[in-house]
Amino acid sequence: MSVEPRYTLYHPRWYRRRVSVWWWLQNRSYAEFVLRELTSVFVAFFAVVYLWQLRALAQGPEAYGQFLARLKTPLFLALDAVAFLFVLFHAITWLNLTPKAMVMRLRGKRVPDWVILSSNYAAWLVLSGAVAFMLLRG
């Protein structure tokens, strides 16, 4: 034996690996998870954009015009495009996970996942349509 035996009082030394700060790059599932979590940043980004739009609206037509002009700049178009992709990723992962998180029972039997999924997506379509209708009227 080249190394002194490492014994504590009652049992040999256990080996504990320290979790690396890059743990989330170790496999694809973990990386997808972190990507999903980072969508919240783009959700916050858009909430702030809408808050900003509200403020511009309140300040009058010139301020609102400036706001619109800002949104047309390449920087904001790029940011919005990226944000849109992330928000879409959030929406799809969120709606897909709902059947796992909310189990509904009807007359003793569990409502099948596909029913909850399709109602989610149907609600998504209906609400999106309603919003578009409201905003495209004038």
């Binding site: 034996m1 080249s2 190394v3 035996p5 490492r6 014994y7 049992h11 040999p12 030394r13 256990w14 080996y15 504990r16 690996r17 979790v19 743990w23 989330w24 170790q26 496999n27 599932s29 973990y30 998870f33 979590e37 996970l97 796992k100 998180a101 909310m102 189990v103 029972r105 003793g108 039997k109 569990r110």
Partner: protein, 247 residues
């Protein structure tokens, strides 16, 4: 079909080394062999010093969990043929202290399991003369999935939160708590709520979902945890609005 396949196995002998090393063995390839068969071949014929746990060799005891090519698996349930051409990397489960070679210490889980009181809790016992507690098939169905847990610990090994925060109570413990919470014979949901709604209980979970992916018995612990979050949050709202009684 090759005649042999290489198995690269993690070794850890605390009397000799301070960190795990790897050793490669050539084992015969048989198309009906699982990884556990290959490990047993190594122990019987090539290197008797290799230490690992196994028992039923048919996926019901939960003893033979190990990390195979980076994923936690039951070694009795995965075929060598699915891992060709090899080499197949076999290591001890992540996030548990390694005692020796492929053997890990599971005391932490056992302690947490006890904390969630995984047994039927009754406030009033029916005397045996009155007969059994009856359940309809639908009532069994509400908790049956969670009762399939074999305590194999693959879920803990897959959960990054458990790795980062060892005080997290963990997927299997919560799933088993739910198994009893949802059982119509049980009256102990309030007692379990106290433990589970602590800081290291369900609220640490961020729904990574890896636990459900690796579970060999399709228990869906991630689902159990999210469902319980809703239950706990609803209970919290009720206790806020009706502080004088939520039973």
């Amino acid at each position: 079909m090759p005649s042999t396949v290489a198995l690269t196995v993690a070794r850890y002998r605390p009397e000799k080394e301070s960190e795990p090393t790897f050793q490669t063995y050539e084992v015969p390839f048989r198309k009906d062999w699982v990884v556990l068969d290959a490990l047993n071949h190594v122990k019987d014929n090539l290197d008797g010093s290799l230490s690992f746990r196994w028992s039923c060799r048919m996926g019901v005891c939960g003893s033979c969990g190990m990390k195979v090519n980076g994923t936690p698996k039951l070694t009795c349930a995965i075929f060598l043929s699915d891992y060709l051409p090899g080499p197949i990397r076999v290591e001890a489960l992540d996030y548990f202290p390694v005692v020796r070679d492929l053997v890990v210490d599971l005391t932490d889980f056992v302690r947490k399991l006890k904390q969630v009181k995984p047994w039927i809790i009754r406030k009033d016992e029916k005397p045996p003369a009155e007969g059994e507690y009856l359940q309809t098939p639908d009532q069994v169905d509400t908790y049956k999935q969670f009762s399939m847990c074999i305590n194999c610990m693959l879920c803990y090994s897959a959960c990054p939160i458990y790795g980062l925060e060892p005080s997290f109570i963990g997927p299997a413990a919560i799933a088993l708590a739910q198994r009893y919470n949802m059982d119509s014979r049980d009256q102990g949901a309030a007692e379990r709520l106290k433990i589970l709604s602590e800081h290291d209980g369900i609220w640490q979970c961020t729904f990574v979902g890896e636990c459900t992916k690796v579970c060999p018995k399709h228990v869906d612990p991630a689902g159990a945890i999210q469902q319980y979050k809703l239950t706990a949050a609803t209970h919290w709202v009720k206790s806020l609005l009706l502080p004088w009684g939520t039973r």
